[in-house]
Symmetry: D3
Subunit: 222 residues, 6 copies
């Protein structure tokens, strides 16, 4: 059965190699020696969230960070992989937009919202503390049901990670110079929809209805 | 121009929503409340490396970690995002395969191979120390040209990250019980090809020619 | 000569004990077992900046953090003294206002603005990285003179520390519930004046002229 | 009500600006461009402990560190704000005396002595571990009452922070050259009194009765 | 009685000085200005495990690391004493062999195997997390008795520390160049015997019967 | 040649097994299930410094920590192996004496005294910062020759590590209760002699002449 997983992956790669690749040889040859992505897309490692698929992006379009919970630790003296990758995307590649994209049914956010016992998962437990600000706010709200609490956690987490993002020197500089815009999205897997955080109203709105919505001007008191 | 980046992304999402999504409603409804990925795929944030595209995977197939340099810090008391995400993938989701996938023309590996001055990129500089073992080995080799040195660095980095991966308790346990297999890949952007690390010979071979190749049984002295 | 320093301190304490203390016995007896400060005041350790003196506050009025550069590290897994003290002030004492107060001629900010060699001061050098976002922005501005660059650094640092402050869970929660307001001040030692950061315009204004000015609603793009 | 807190602060600043400042214009103009404090004063953030007031010091006299519990982490590879500020005070400003001043009814020391549940205050909980040595010693003593245990904790903490202080290179060097003296004080808020740690006897004595008392020559076995 | 401990030590030193030393003056004079040890020996601090005694080594033969549990943290950005000492032994002294030697009745391994409450030993508790991979594997095995579980833990710990060792750049480089060999030993105090880890079979065998056994070629799936 | 190193070790073990072990069977059988060492001995990993040999100790007598430079990091929130091992020795085993033993021609202390370029040895470089206090003091002294500077560094390092040791809660508690005594030694490899730090005079004296010398009562100003 395990064989199947890898067989399927390798069969997929053969289809890519025999189908998609030949159709894009000029693109791939151009990309062979340079990338100029316009966007940094930060999302969860969740297998159901495929950023290039849901945005129908081509190779070369988006620089992507993926980890459990689409978390961006705030800037500090102990630089981890997210800090390094944000720094590279903004200071070296000069991306114009940063999207922080959470999603429905997120395992990480569910664990936080449920107050799950994470004692056997010490690394997960430690990592999710980067969402403590979101948790504090979400826990203080009244939720009518458990799934509402998870949904709230997903949204508060996106907002909290945007606040963390602003502490990174490369981002703070680019924001001060108007070179980058921030976006906070929540992708619904079952519905195929995206809500975007509207910083001016402090609310999430449908991305298709409000394509200009962004989170650049953080307004925490609506 | 910046507007175009996001406009394109949002246009892409509309195509997804109006095209891809309706075709897969049963899949997405099933995925709405659970994921059962068979593979953990760790690759670079590079915009040219789209793991689901090159393996033609569907949503739900692969749990994905992406950061600059496809780095997996070894396990230690200070858990970062990669450690947490590996722990979640192996201990909670029970993935059967872990692929560490480097790629040609990697900016992170080029910076290391070239000994680039990273003083203005402190987070990148710090993060790339997790590839110090690979750098030490690659620097000790004779390289006929600069691109050969980068290519060597990409390969040594994949091997070094596999060694780091083995220090994670969830991985060590799964390996000891034969529940997980490790794979070390290098994807060539321009060629559309993949080489896989063959642990028994200590060499990289063409994945299509040798689809059974894996890196589970680490043999550092061939 | 050193004796004089302590002699003066102890003489001062005698004057307090024989003069100020007897005048305030009811206050001190009330304070003996409880404090209810309304404000958390974060300022530099600089000997010329005496927060209670410049605000003519009484004992019991202000909870005070003082360190080199009035720095507030962003929230992360390695909690230091500032994080702990902010947490105590907001979550336990329930302060209603937080003032981050920089000052003219700040040694810490001058060292950053001048790019001083701090190799013999490793702890100072490390600590000042918490002002990297401010430094990046200030360095990108054109300054007509050296003192203008220091003054700019002092101001950008106040703004950056306010961004760091927002990543602390206790602060983020209190902000979301409207329980706390933020203030960014710069005190001029020679002039005896205070400028306050006006978040709506992104400018510093005279505190006496605009006593309602605050930094709660962060607006980074004016 | 919250308005009142800030109004009072700003009213206080106006009184300073219209009263205290004009009386000291020559002092403030001299201070505008330099400071030469003789003392580094480390005390708690507690609103009831105003170091310049209880020593009747003038602006420019004392370099001040304030945090919850007047804690000085020992020197190590992860430099925090206290280490940086001590380094600046001793190595750059060349202070001749360092006073570590605890106080009665300290919230931080009470939490330790009482074994308070700090699970909702993770940063406080972590920070107070820097007083573990003091806690171990105080817990081993027999205390007749709860307030006696807190008082003991306050005193042991001052002694422990003096031991931590000695591990800082700048302090160790200055001590070895006789350039700095250490002082351990406990300020009683209700009584308006100060006790000083006498290193030769290992006891706290009344500062006014024994103004020469100091903690420079640490004698841990009396 | 405490006096006796030191008296015995000093009496021992006198015997060394009057007996062993004069017999080896040429050796000690040669060693006075240089060392060329062939082996790095990593073992527990346990008083019953004397590496030079059980191997009948002379001064100058073995570079020795000793800590509770013969632990070698994996390589990471926060370098501790073991990392530094390994680096010095391999990169500067050029040792040809590294022995990681556990032992019977190890207090550290017993604490892990028993799931002892280490809440009053925070540093021990934290340190032993470097054996989490070994613990995970050993806990998953069925043990017929408590001492069997401890014995299993001792063995798994040796294997896990060898995996950690491979992440160190100096070791990875030396392994890749065939300049160093790894050895995993378990010393039985009561029996006076040593078992060695045979990487090819994944088993521990008697060292005297199989003196060529080594752990260089790590084969985790036998 | 590498074979010889291990062959010699294994030959040595055979001599132990056939000679020393049978002579001590009763001791080893008693030791098989418990240890009661009276002393914690902290010394350098240097192959020429064999603590049990120079003190002619038997198995079971001394709990031993060995690392490059006989360094004891001060107590802090990030517990390493030395902190854990000290904690175990003092709090669990209840050792009565702690010896910190430096030695002549120490490679670590020579690197510090010479200001050696350690850029290719990052872990060593980082570790040796725990001797910064000693370095600061030694650098401030006038040394007639290079070897005098190294000898001074060795001595100042022993004193500095004793100061670090006092910050550990287990040690501070044991000192306060008179349950442990501290000793600072310097072993001369070529001479076979030991000097001990006399805390009352602040000087090192010959251990054989002054066997009662100890470092318990730290007196930094003689
Ligand atoms: Zn998720
Ligand atoms: Zn890359
Ligand atoms: Zn300042
Ligand atoms: Zn207090
Ligand atoms: Zn042991
Ligand atoms: Zn040494």
């Amino acid at each position: 059965m395990e064989i199947d997983t890898m067989q399927r992956l390798i069969e997929g790669f053969k289809r890519f190699r025999d189908g998609e690749y030949p159709e894009r040889i000029p693109l791939f040859q151009e990309l062979a020696t340079k990338q100029e992505p316009g966007t940094l897309f930060v999302t969860c490692s969740d297998s159901r969230v495929v950023p290039e698929f849901i945005t129908q992006s081509e190779p070369g379009d988006m620089f992507v960070i993926r980890n459990a919970g689409n978390i961006i630790p705030s800037f500090g003296p102990h630089h981890g992989g997210v800090s390094a990758t944000v720094e590279y995307a903004v200071a070296v590649l000069g991306v114009a937009d940063i999207v922080v994209c959470g999603h429905s049914d997120c395992g990480a956010m569910t664990a936080i919202a449920d107050g799950a016992d994470l004692s056997t998962l010490p690394a997960v437990s430690s990592w999710l503390h980067h969402a403590d600000a979101a948790k504090a706010i979400n826990d203080a709200h009244v939720h009518s049901c458990k799934s509402g609490k998870v949904a709230g956690m997903v949204r508060e987490n996106v907002i909290a990670q945007l606040a963390n993002l602003r502490t990174h020197p490369s981002v703070a500089l680019a924001l001060s110079e108007g070179r980058v815009r921030l976006h906070g999205w929540v992708y619904d897997i079952g519905e195929g929809s995206i809500e975007a955080y509207d910083a001016s109203s402090g609310r999430f709105v449908d991305l298709i209805d409000y394509p200009e919505t962004d989170a650049t001007a953080l307004n925490l008191v609506s």
